[in-house]
Protein backbone atom coordinates (compact mmCIF):
# COMPACT_ATOMS: atom_id res chain seq x y z
CA UNK A 1 0.00 0.00 0.00
CA UNK A 2 1.38 3.40 -0.99
CA UNK A 3 1.75 5.91 1.82
CA UNK A 4 -0.05 9.21 1.62
CA UNK A 5 2.08 11.99 0.08
CA UNK A 6 2.12 13.96 3.34
CA UNK A 7 3.49 10.92 5.19
CA UNK A 8 6.24 10.51 2.62
CA UNK A 9 6.96 14.23 2.94
CA UNK A 10 7.26 13.88 6.72
CA UNK A 11 9.66 11.00 6.27
CA UNK A 12 11.83 13.08 3.90
CA UNK A 13 11.81 15.93 6.40
CA UNK A 14 13.09 13.58 9.11
CA UNK A 15 15.84 12.30 6.81
CA UNK A 16 16.97 15.85 6.03
CA UNK A 17 16.98 16.68 9.75
CA UNK A 18 19.11 13.60 10.42
CA UNK A 19 21.53 14.59 7.63
CA UNK A 20 21.85 18.08 9.14
CA UNK A 21 22.48 16.67 12.63
CA UNK A 22 25.21 14.47 11.21
CA UNK A 23 26.78 17.32 9.26
CA UNK A 24 26.57 19.67 12.26
CA UNK A 25 28.76 17.29 14.28
CA UNK A 26 31.67 18.21 12.01
CA UNK A 27 30.70 21.60 10.58
CA UNK A 28 30.52 24.06 13.41
CA UNK A 29 31.97 27.34 12.18
CA UNK A 30 30.27 30.67 11.53
CA UNK A 31 29.24 29.61 8.04
CA UNK A 32 27.48 26.59 9.51
CA UNK A 33 25.54 28.76 11.94
CA UNK A 34 24.67 31.18 9.13
CA UNK A 35 23.56 28.29 6.90
CA UNK A 36 21.44 26.89 9.70
CA UNK A 37 19.68 30.13 10.64
CA UNK A 38 19.35 31.77 7.21
CA UNK A 39 18.72 28.78 4.95
CA UNK A 40 18.04 25.47 6.62
CA UNK A 41 15.71 26.58 9.42
CA UNK A 42 13.44 28.58 7.03
CA UNK A 43 13.39 25.57 4.69
CA UNK A 44 12.36 23.20 7.47
CA UNK A 45 9.77 25.67 8.76
CA UNK A 46 8.23 26.16 5.30
CA UNK A 47 8.30 22.40 4.70
CA UNK A 48 6.39 21.77 7.94
CA UNK A 49 3.81 24.41 7.01
CA UNK A 50 3.34 22.84 3.60
CA UNK A 51 3.03 19.31 4.95
CA UNK A 52 0.53 20.40 7.62
CA UNK A 53 -1.59 22.15 4.97
CA UNK A 54 -1.30 19.08 2.75
CA UNK A 55 -2.38 16.77 5.58
CA UNK A 56 -5.47 18.92 6.17
CA UNK A 57 -6.36 18.94 2.47
CA UNK A 58 -5.88 15.18 2.06
CA UNK A 59 -8.03 14.55 5.15
CA UNK A 60 -10.78 16.61 3.49
CA UNK A 61 -10.42 14.72 0.20
CA UNK A 62 -10.72 11.37 1.99
CA UNK A 63 -13.73 12.57 4.00
CA UNK A 64 -15.41 13.79 0.80
CA UNK A 65 -14.93 10.41 -0.88
CA UNK A 66 -16.23 8.55 2.17
CA UNK A 67 -19.23 10.82 2.68
CA UNK A 68 -20.37 10.64 -0.95
CA UNK A 69 -20.00 6.87 -1.42
CA UNK A 70 -22.98 4.77 -2.41
Amino acid sequence: MTARPDQDGDQQLRLLGDAWDKAAEHWRDGMARQFDSAQLTPLLHESRSYLEALRKLLDTLEAAERDTEG
Partner: protein, 154 residues
Protein backbone atom coordinates in the same frame (compact mmCIF):
# COMPACT_ATOMS: atom_id res chain seq x y z
CA UNK B 1 43.16 11.40 6.98
CA UNK B 2 39.59 10.44 7.84
CA UNK B 3 39.38 12.99 10.65
CA UNK B 4 40.88 15.76 8.50
CA UNK B 5 38.19 15.30 5.84
CA UNK B 6 35.30 14.50 8.14
CA UNK B 7 33.85 17.99 7.71
CA UNK B 8 34.04 17.73 3.92
CA UNK B 9 32.43 14.30 3.99
CA UNK B 10 29.72 15.62 6.28
CA UNK B 11 29.05 18.54 3.93
CA UNK B 12 28.90 16.19 0.95
CA UNK B 13 26.43 14.06 2.86
CA UNK B 14 24.30 17.10 3.60
CA UNK B 15 24.49 18.21 -0.02
CA UNK B 16 23.34 14.79 -1.23
CA UNK B 17 20.54 14.81 1.33
CA UNK B 18 19.35 18.20 0.05
CA UNK B 19 19.31 16.94 -3.55
CA UNK B 20 17.33 13.85 -2.51
CA UNK B 21 15.00 16.02 -0.46
CA UNK B 22 14.29 18.31 -3.42
CA UNK B 23 13.45 15.41 -5.72
CA UNK B 24 11.39 13.55 -3.12
CA UNK B 25 9.35 16.61 -2.13
CA UNK B 26 8.74 17.45 -5.79
CA UNK B 27 7.27 13.97 -6.07
CA UNK B 28 5.14 14.65 -2.98
CA UNK B 29 3.77 17.88 -4.51
CA UNK B 30 3.04 16.16 -7.85
CA UNK B 31 1.22 13.26 -6.15
CA UNK B 32 -0.77 15.72 -4.07
CA UNK B 33 -1.90 17.58 -7.19
CA UNK B 34 -2.85 14.23 -8.74
CA UNK B 35 -4.83 13.28 -5.64
CA UNK B 36 -6.72 16.56 -5.75
CA UNK B 37 -7.50 16.08 -9.45
CA UNK B 38 -8.64 12.47 -8.89
CA UNK B 39 -10.99 13.45 -6.06
CA UNK B 40 -12.41 16.37 -8.05
CA UNK B 41 -13.04 14.08 -11.02
CA UNK B 42 -14.59 11.46 -8.76
CA UNK B 43 -16.97 13.99 -7.19
CA UNK B 44 -17.87 15.40 -10.60
CA UNK B 45 -18.65 11.86 -11.80
CA UNK B 46 -20.85 11.24 -8.74
CA UNK B 47 -22.60 14.60 -9.24
CA UNK B 48 -23.23 13.80 -12.89
CA UNK B 49 -24.71 10.38 -12.09
CA UNK B 50 -26.76 11.95 -9.32
CA UNK B 51 -28.12 14.64 -11.69
CA UNK B 52 -29.16 11.92 -14.13
CA UNK B 53 -30.84 10.00 -11.31
CA UNK B 54 -32.62 13.15 -10.14
CA UNK B 55 -33.91 13.86 -13.65
CA UNK B 56 -35.18 10.29 -13.90
CA UNK B 57 -36.91 10.53 -10.53
CA UNK B 58 -38.44 13.89 -11.48
CA UNK B 59 -39.74 12.40 -14.76
CA UNK B 60 -41.25 9.45 -12.89
CA UNK B 61 -42.83 11.78 -10.34
CA UNK B 62 -44.25 13.94 -13.16
CA UNK B 63 -45.74 10.88 -14.87
CA UNK B 64 -47.24 9.74 -11.58
CA UNK B 65 -48.71 13.17 -10.91
CA UNK B 66 -50.26 13.11 -14.42
CA UNK B 67 -51.80 9.74 -13.66
CA UNK B 68 -53.05 11.10 -10.33
CA UNK B 69 -54.59 14.14 -12.03
CA UNK B 70 -56.31 11.95 -14.64
CA UNK B 71 -57.57 9.63 -11.92
CA UNK B 72 -58.95 12.58 -9.99
CA UNK B 73 -60.88 13.78 -13.05
CA UNK B 74 -62.18 10.31 -13.81
CA UNK B 75 -65.06 9.52 -11.49
CA UNK B 76 -65.08 5.92 -12.59
CA UNK B 77 -61.42 5.44 -11.56
CA UNK B 78 -60.90 3.13 -8.65
CA UNK B 79 -59.06 4.85 -5.77
CA UNK B 80 -56.33 7.47 -5.87
CA UNK B 81 -52.81 7.37 -7.25
CA UNK B 82 -50.12 7.61 -4.57
CA UNK B 83 -46.99 9.44 -5.79
CA UNK B 84 -45.33 9.80 -2.38
CA UNK B 85 -42.71 7.14 -3.16
CA UNK B 86 -41.63 9.06 -6.29
CA UNK B 87 -41.62 12.33 -4.35
CA UNK B 88 -39.38 10.75 -1.72
CA UNK B 89 -36.99 9.51 -4.40
CA UNK B 90 -36.78 13.04 -5.88
CA UNK B 91 -36.10 14.47 -2.44
CA UNK B 92 -33.38 11.91 -1.68
CA UNK B 93 -31.66 12.40 -5.05
CA UNK B 94 -31.78 16.17 -4.58
CA UNK B 95 -30.29 15.91 -1.10
CA UNK B 96 -27.51 13.64 -2.31
CA UNK B 97 -26.69 16.01 -5.17
CA UNK B 98 -26.64 18.93 -2.75
CA UNK B 99 -24.33 17.00 -0.43
CA UNK B 100 -21.89 16.37 -3.29
CA UNK B 101 -22.03 20.03 -4.32
CA UNK B 102 -21.24 21.12 -0.75
CA UNK B 103 -18.16 18.87 -0.75
CA UNK B 104 -17.10 20.26 -4.14
CA UNK B 105 -17.38 23.80 -2.82
CA UNK B 106 -15.48 22.95 0.36
CA UNK B 107 -12.70 21.29 -1.62
CA UNK B 108 -12.47 24.28 -3.96
CA UNK B 109 -12.15 26.62 -0.97
CA UNK B 110 -9.57 24.47 0.84
CA UNK B 111 -7.60 23.81 -2.34
CA UNK B 112 -7.48 27.53 -3.05
CA UNK B 113 -6.11 28.18 0.45
CA UNK B 114 -3.68 25.28 0.08
CA UNK B 115 -2.32 26.66 -3.21
CA UNK B 116 -0.88 29.67 -1.38
CA UNK B 117 1.27 27.45 0.86
CA UNK B 118 1.98 25.01 -1.97
CA UNK B 119 3.12 27.86 -4.23
CA UNK B 120 5.58 29.08 -1.61
CA UNK B 121 6.89 25.55 -1.08
CA UNK B 122 7.24 24.93 -4.82
CA UNK B 123 9.22 28.17 -5.12
CA UNK B 124 11.47 26.98 -2.33
CA UNK B 125 12.08 23.67 -4.06
CA UNK B 126 12.74 25.26 -7.44
CA UNK B 127 14.80 28.27 -6.37
CA UNK B 128 16.04 28.21 -2.78
CA UNK B 129 17.05 24.58 -2.55
CA UNK B 130 19.28 24.65 -5.65
CA UNK B 131 20.92 27.78 -4.17
CA UNK B 132 21.57 25.96 -0.92
CA UNK B 133 23.03 23.06 -2.84
CA UNK B 134 25.29 25.40 -4.83
CA UNK B 135 26.35 27.12 -1.62
CA UNK B 136 27.40 23.80 -0.12
CA UNK B 137 29.23 22.82 -3.32
CA UNK B 138 31.17 26.10 -3.15
CA UNK B 139 32.10 25.53 0.51
CA UNK B 140 33.16 21.96 -0.21
CA UNK B 141 35.28 23.16 -3.14
CA UNK B 142 36.94 25.86 -1.05
CA UNK B 143 37.68 23.42 1.79
CA UNK B 144 39.12 20.90 -0.64
CA UNK B 145 41.25 23.60 -2.29
CA UNK B 146 42.51 24.78 1.10
CA UNK B 147 43.42 21.21 2.11
CA UNK B 148 45.28 20.71 -1.12
CA UNK B 149 47.32 23.84 -0.40
CA UNK B 150 47.92 22.86 3.21
CA UNK B 151 48.77 19.20 2.68
CA UNK B 152 52.31 19.63 1.18
CA UNK B 153 53.34 22.01 3.93
CA UNK B 154 52.08 19.87 6.80
Amino acid sequence: MTRIHADIDALKGLHDALVRYRHAQRDVTARSEDQLAVTRASLEGKASRCRTQLELCQAELGACQDRAARAAEDDSADGTVDCSGYARAVEQSGERLEQIRRWQQRIDAEASEFQVTAGRFAGLLETELPRMEEYLVAIIASLEAARRVQTPAS
